[in-house]
């Protein structure tokens, strides 16, 4: 059995809205570049885990095409039909088991150019209830959640717009982000197309083409890869019930439970104090205060104050999505894994213009399913 698992390498593509290459080429180039950076070959990897979705790839058993591209030919490989952070959790457990010392995790999709993200999302809706009714979808759920939050805590559309601007500014400084908006402003956000109010186009994450690769290793082997390991010290993974009308969209007990489990494992008693930054998987910027509060990073209902005093900005007390988060790039299936890569970059002091000074501990979150039915939380430390 292995006791501690580290992130020893990470790399993401420059995400775009229209990739010049096919997904196979994209992940091949990405993994090749990561191996070259670390000076390793595929022989140094014991198990390969892909995160993709047959619906996003337009074919079933999609990995028959993608497995060879990441170097897993004649190697132990498996796939997760979910977000990449779930694949990282899988890799983490495989290494903990002691059967494997190293794992490569790759998540990818072509959500920017090859399919309509809302179409794939609609295939996750109950086929015999929600789909034929056409009322509940990812966008309207986000709007209902946002409205509940705004009403209860007097969070205004301007506050939400300011939060979106914060993320767009961070995305502008992130060389990997697909979305670049010149001089983002509250007025521009509030002037963007209304979808399901308060959700406007500007609040929607940037569905993009892109991929992310992360290498995990046992403590024993970590030195072979890097002298800057990032340790996975806590994990949590919880799912809520499916029906929106049966869920508490504000309390998000399942996310709260996942975070608590991860904090307990990592020995974190006061997350607000002990955590230096969070990378949160938001499909809509309105999810940020709700998720951050469910994860115990801010007091329930403090969204307005957090926006006002800039607490979640890069120079604030607890930066949330210093990378710009999925508002800058949301290549479905890679998005949660990118959060892990971005947090690793922060802890290794490699986050460039978006660097949070002196970051030692980070919390990483990923979601999947309608209205974040599934949540994964990692606590990582340098």
């Amino acid at each position: 059995m292995n006791e501690r698992v580290a992130i020893v390498g990470y790399k993401q593509t420059k995400h775009t809205f229209d990739s010049p290459v096919a997904r196979e080429r994209m992940i091949y180039e990405l993994v090749k570049a990561l191996f070259a950076e670390l000076g390793i070959t595929r022989d140094d990897i014991d198990t390969f885990i892909l995160a993709s979705n047959d619906f996003t790839d337009g074919r079933t058993i999609s990995e028959v095409f993608t497995v060879p591209r990441i170097g897993a030919y004649m190697k132990d490989e498996t796939k997760v039909e979910s977000d990449g952070l779930s694949a990282a959790l899988y890799a983490y457990m495989r290494i903990l088991s002691g059967l494997y010392e190293t794992a490569l995790v790759v998540g990818f999709s072509m959500a920017g150019s090859e399919f309509r993200a809302p179409l794939i999302q609609s295939y996750t809706l109950d086929p015999v209830y929600e789909r034929p009714r056409g009322i509940i979808n990812y966008y309207s759920i986000a709007a209902l959640q946002a409205n509940a939050y705004m009403r209860k805590y007097k969070f205004t559309e301007e506050d939400l717009a300011q939060l979106t601007v914060k993320n767009l500014e961070n995305a502008n400084n992130n060389p990997y982000a697909a979305r670049k908006e010149e001089n983002p402003s509250i007025d521009k956000v509030l002037g963007s197309k209304p979808l399901y109010l308060p959700i406007r186009q500007a609040h929607v994450s940037a569905y993009a083409d892109g991929a992310c690769a992360v290498i995990l290793s046992s403590k024993k082997m970590a030195k072979k890869f890097t002298n800057k390991p990032v340790w996975i010290d806590g994990v949590g993974h919880f799912m809520d019930t499916y029906y929106i009308g049966d869920r508490d969209l504000l309390a998000m007990e399942h996310l709260s439970a996942a975070a608590k489990k991860a904090y307990k494992m990592a020995g974190i008693k006061n997350p607000k104090k002990e955590i230096d930054l969070a990378e949160i998987h938001t499909n809509f910027s309105s999810e940020e205060p709700v998720f951050a509060e469910a994860m115990g990073l801010f007091k329930p209902g403090s969204g307005k104050d957090v926006v006002k005093n800039g607490e979640s900005r890069i120079d604030g007390a607890l930066p949330i999505n210093p990378s710009g988060g999925p508002l800058g790039a949301n290549p479905i299936n890679a998005t949660g894994l990118i959060r892990l890569a971005e947090a690793s970059a922060q802890l290794r002091n490699e986050a460039g213009k978006n660097q949070v000074k002196g970051a030692k501990t980070a919390v990483v979150h990923a979601q999947d399913g309608p209205g974040a039915q599934l949540n994964t939380v990692f606590v990582v430390r340098r």
Binding site: V21, P118, P127, Y129, S140, L197, G245, D246
Partner: protein
């Protein structure tokens, strides 16, 4: 001819922004996939749909926590207990949450609608769940949580979701 070929190659390399990629790799092919499934709706939704036919809104009561799920379910996720107790809930309720919609999502396409409309989460009398539905209101600006609403039915019902057309202020 050869010059033309190199020109195209040059443009492709410029477009991809990186040398070494094969010319023509940006070409896309349409990949149509059509499936038609005939899924069973399951016992609980069958009860719900049968109820709609009789202009009734049916729910299911968990024997342990007494929660009334609408639409009905055969298992309470919290108690892990099977449910076979169907109950009719009220046709009036309170609007608990809503969004004003400017679009519809059809086949993944976000389409503008002519008039904005309200999607609501409604707590019907006797139900624990919030039921989602369209709330028809003369002016969408007037919509408020706490409003009393009631179900409006199609004249001739057929046991379909569309039998319950929308909710309107009660």
């Amino acid at each position: 001819m050869l010059a033309m070929y190199f020109l195209i190659l040059y443009i492709t390399v410029q477009c991809t922004g990186k040398e070494g990629f094969m010319a023509g790799e940006t070409v896309k092919a349409m990949v149509p996939i059509t499936f038609m499934y005939k899924n069973r709706v399951g016992q609980a939704l069958q009860v719900y749909l049968n109820g709609l036919k009789e202009k009734k809104i049916m729910g299911a009561r968990c024997p342990t926590c007494k929660k009334v799920y609408v639409p009905p379910k055969t298992v309470c996720a919290r108690c892990r207990k099977p449910i076979d107790k169907w109950v009719e809930v009220g046709q009036e309720g309170i609007l608990k949450n809503f969004t004003v919609s400017y679009v519809n999502i059809v086949n993944g396409e976000i389409l503008d609608v002519q008039e904005p409309y309200v999607i609501g989460l409604i707590k019907l009398k006797g139900a624990s769940s919030l039921l989602s539905g369209i709330v028809k209101i003369p002016s969408v600006d007037k919509v408020k949580t706490g409003m009393k609403v009631k179900a409006v039915w199609k004249e001739t019902t057929q046991g379909e979701y569309s039998d319950l057309v929308y909710f309107e202020p009660a």
